[in-house]
């Protein structure tokens, strides 16, 4: 029996050394022979999606999709593969839900469209009634053994949920909150991430998940840590435009902010991946794809608001300019008012300090100037006297005017 530890090592290592299927198939057969692992019935629902994850699963090698269907899962319903159509296919699915409740796995591809009570996406008809993706998910999820979200859309909303999110797209975990959702992000998810997670579920149960509920064996490290161009990053050799040699950090590579093992694993029979092909990572496996990653060729994302798109860098530059400008203006004003001139001739503090204006300043002075206690106390009494009188609230206008009221030449206010 393949140990869980060995299995995870196998998943985390590049598949080139030893293919998952070579190691898995005998184990799965043995497990099935011992009836420990029955092929789990799987219902795959596609909601607001591009079918990309299905195509990606179809692209699986080691194990291939057919091997995977033969050995690991019992794919009862998936509308891209079902031979039956319409009522017949729906009946088969509903039968699985009814008969295998608590046993079947529910795989969700695509974001849940919640606008207009889910009516932006209807996925099947039952007795002539149109069922929305939202309703189907809410109905089936509590009965499923595992709910697995594949692709960024199903996990976290993905491209369809990008601002302004016209269809009200949400991730599965935003809709089904009372059940653990296993998230396999990616746009699309790598076939190994799907087959690896499914195999782990079939053989050993729940894999170790992180705070975003992703399997740690695939999403434990950032792309940046594993990248082939990491040395060029460390050496400070940067590409000025995509397609050039050097680290793509300067042209907006999101490798440092994205957890996935693309550099080790690589795509499509393990032959290539974006950074190797000279294009920056766009962070498609990130929970914050795409709004937290766009513009793809910039370091920092733009902030999308209903009115405008805010570029953090421009705002930062504006703030810095504003601050420095304000200091400059004050400097000029200080020179014009001859204050700076005075400070350099006379030192900082006024030789004849102004009397305290507020009680707080009186306290300050009390703390500071114990030796002048008596003088200060008399001063304080003077200040407090008017307050013993019934306080009349000054009007706002008066207070505003008094702000600009200048002391007389003796330094005495009011």
């Amino acid at each position: 029996m393949l140990s869980r530890r060995k299995f995870i090592q196998l998943c985390m290592s590049s598949a080139l050394t030893l293919s998952l299927s070579d190691a898995l198939t005998p184990v799965l057969r043995q497990a099935q022979a011992e009836t420990r692992a029955e092929k789990p019935p799987v219902i795959w629902l596609e909601l607001g999606s591009c079918t990309g994850n299905t195509i990606s699963l179809d692209n699986a090698v080691n194990p291939s999709l057919r091997q995977f269907l033969d050995e690991t899962i019992d794919l009862r319903y998936h509308w891209t593969f079902n031979a039956a159509q319409g009522e017949q296919a729906v009946a088969a699915m509903l039968e699985t839900v009814a008969r295998d409740a608590g046993k079947f796995w529910l795989v969700i591809e695509g974001s849940v469209m919640t606008a207009d009570n889910g009516r932006y996406n209807e996925i099947f008809a039952r007795n002539g009634e149109m069922i929305t993706g939202l309703a189907a998910l809410q109905e089936f999820a509590p009965q499923a053994r595992y709910v697995i979200a594949v692709g960024d859309c199903a996990c976290y909303g993905g491209p369809a949920a990008a601002h302004p999110n016209p269809g009200g797209a949400k991730g599965v975990w935003d809709v089904v909150t009372d059940k653990l959702i296993i998230n396999i992000p990616g746009c699309p998810a790598h076939p190994d991430w799907m087959t690896g997670t499914f195999s782990h579920l079939a053989l050993y149960g729940l894999p170790e998940l992180d705070a975003y509920q992703r399997p740690k064996m695939f999403f434990g490290r950032t792309i940046h840590e594993l990248c082939q161009r990491r040395q060029q990053f460390e050496d400070g050799i940067f590409a000025a435009f995509p397609g050039e040699d050097g680290c793509l950090y300067r042209v907006g590579c999101k490798g440092p902010v994205t957890h996935a093992d693309c550099p080790l694993r690589q795509w499509n029979h393990y032959i290539n991946w974006p950074v190797k092909a000279g294009t920056p990572c766009i962070g498609c496996a990130s929970p914050h794809f795409p709004d937290g990653m766009m513009p793809f060729y910039n370091h920092l994302p733009d902030i999308q608001t209903p009115a405008v798109t805010v570029n953090i860098k421009k705002v930062g530059a504006a703030f810095a300019a504003l601050g420095i400008g304000a200091v400059g203006t004050h400097l000029v004003a200080g020179i014009c008012a001859r204050r700076i001139h005075k400070h350099y001739l006379d030192g900082t503090k006024p030789s004849d300090p102004t009397p305290p204006e507020t009680l707080e300043q009186v306290r300050q002075e009390l703390d500071d100037l114990i030796r002048q206690q008596n003088a200060l106390l008399s001063e304080a009494k003077q200040l407090e006297r008017p307050q013993r009188k019934p306080r009349r609230r000054k009007s706002l206008l008066k207070r505003a005017l008094s702000f600009w009221h200048t002391e007389d030449k003796d330094g005495k206010g009011k």
């Binding site: 794919l75 932006y120 699309p188 397609g243 032959i271 513009p295 793809f296």
Partner: protein, 462 residues
């Protein structure tokens, strides 16, 4: 007269609902509805125009490259850049790989089980009720080829990834070329896979298609439709820009005419949208989703060329290029698709030979502060257009008309059916509960509703 509903129509890129009215064993009326709305175009507003080609291919997982290329073409016009010769060839090679993948998958994953009884395991059971006419031996053979065909589609995506980094959703195509280098070892890798696929297409795929055509001869007469064909052309050549597969318009199987972009309009009478005017040119109008609209039955708008519904896809392209003019039917569409796969394999071989190893594949560029562009290319399943404009480095308006909106458009204000709806008329129905024949007609178009269901325009096009 009975009205029947198929929902979902499986083995298409979903979600698709078809309603048919049957009288005397034939379909007399049909409605196709798309039941997903995501709204990609308003999402694009306010974003960096450089991101369009990478972001918008997320509309569709099966024809992602087509969207990337259409967006890149629109960017080329807006930014005033042209791809390097190597860049253009690599773009074509990436697109070719995706097209080959799509056609193989369409036949071996989606269409095959309409005619061939698959293995007795889910998801191939329950099997639809209907006329599976192949003799058992041939049936088993084709069912085996189903496995091999998917393997070949996987290999085609592998070929794509050689230059496109990953698939679906390649990541290397930019306005001025491709970020991957055309090194001799990559060219070799692509060529090796291409040879294998081409051999498979020549010896297996075409043969399988012809086998099915032989046993289902009546499908040469089913699913004809209007006979209006439209193609924007695809695969521009380096330097000249001439397209390897040509553009054109055919109305009622007559002679090919030149395409005039100004004749394209969209109608929303039967679509779940609100707008002040019902018929608009793609660059105009403000539409809002309204799921409660009376009479409407689809999220797709009805695009029309000169007020007529058109179909696009491999058959339209073959007809316009004079490669296949036997007729318009279910079987013709399937055969034209297989023939096109071989044709594109040959074109790809030619482009590989034209590549200058080590030559520049990309040209650095800086987008001007404002601009507008149009990108028209045929995708795998028909004409695809991207229109956009941007100002101060932010997209103001983006508009997309996808192939499936042409093929599977609902009726327009005058009540004229869409291309697939029209093609369904007259389809014989043996068992009104199975409707396998209707499925065959629908699938011959290679519908892709993930593409079709995105659309309403954002902002106002200048």
């Amino acid at each position: 007269m009975t009205r029947k509903v198929i929902f979902p129509v499986t083995r298409v890129h979903e979600p698709l609902r078809v309603d048919v009215e049957i009288e005397g064993g034939r379909v007399v009326d049909a409605w196709v509805s798309s039941l997903l709305f995501r709204g990609f175009e308003p999402i694009m507003a306010g974003r960096d125009p450089r991101d369009a080609s990478l972001f918008l291919q997320r509309i569709c997982g099966i024809c992602s490259t087509a969207h990337a290329i259409a967006a890149a073409m629109a960017q080329q016009e807006a930014f005033g850049v042209v791809p390097t010769p190597n860049g253009q060839l690599l773009t074509n090679l990436i697109f070719a790989a995706d097209l080959i993948q799509n056609h193989l998958r369409h036949f071996y994953v989606l269409v095959l089980y309409d005619y061939v009884a698959g293995p007795a395991v889910p998801p191939f059971i329950p099997r639809p009720k209907g006329d599976f006419r192949l003799p058992p031996k041939t049936n088993d053979e084709l069912s085996q080829h189903g496995v091999k065909g998917i393997e070949m589609a996987v290999r085609a995506h592998e070929m794509l990834a050689v230059f496109g980094a990953k698939a679906p959703h390649q990541q290397t195509i930019m306005a001025s070329g491709v970020t991957e280098q055309a090194t001799s070892e990559r060219i070799m890798a692509y060529r090796a896979v291409l040879r294998e696929i081409k051999h498979f297409v020549e010896t297996v795929y075409l043969a399988d298609v012809l086998t099915i055509a032989e046993y289902y001869k009546d499908y040469y007469d089913i699913g004809a439709g209007y006979g209006n064909l439209l193609s924007y052309g695809m695969f521009p050549q380096p330097a000249t820009g001439r397209r390897a597969i040509g553009a054109g318009v055919v109305i009622g199987k007559n002679a090919t005419e030149n395409l005039d972009g100004g004749q394209i309009t969209e109608n929303i009478h039967y679509s779940w949208y609100r707008d002040a005017g019902e018929t608009r040119h793609p660059g105009e109008g403000e539409t809002q989703p309204d799921r409660d609209k009376a009479e409407a039955y689809s999220w797709i708008k009805a695009p029309r060329y000169r007020g007529l519904a058109f179909e696009g896809g491999p058959l339209a392209r073959a007809w316009i290029d004079n490669d296949w003019r036997r007729g318009i039917s279910v079987m013709d569409r399937i055969i034209a698709r297989a023939r096109e796969t071989l044709k594109v394999c040959r074109l790809a071989e030619q482009w590989l030979a034209e590549l200058a190893p080590g030559g520049p594949t990309l040209r650095p560029f800086e987008p001007p502060p404002q601009g507008a562009g149009v990108g028209l290319t045929d995708a795998m399943r028909g004409p695809l257009g991207h229109w956009f404009s941007y100002q101060e480095g932010k997209i103001r308006r983006y508009q997309i008309i996808t192939p499936t909106t042409w093929n599977f458009s609902p009726r327009d204000a005058s009540g004229k059916r869409g291309a697939a709806e029209e093609a369904l008329i007259g389809t014989p129905v043996a068992d009104p509960d199975s409707l396998i024949e209707v499925g065959r007609v629908v699938r011959s178009f290679d519908p892709c509703f993930t593409c079709a269901v995105h659309a309403y325009p954002a902002g106002r096009m200048r």
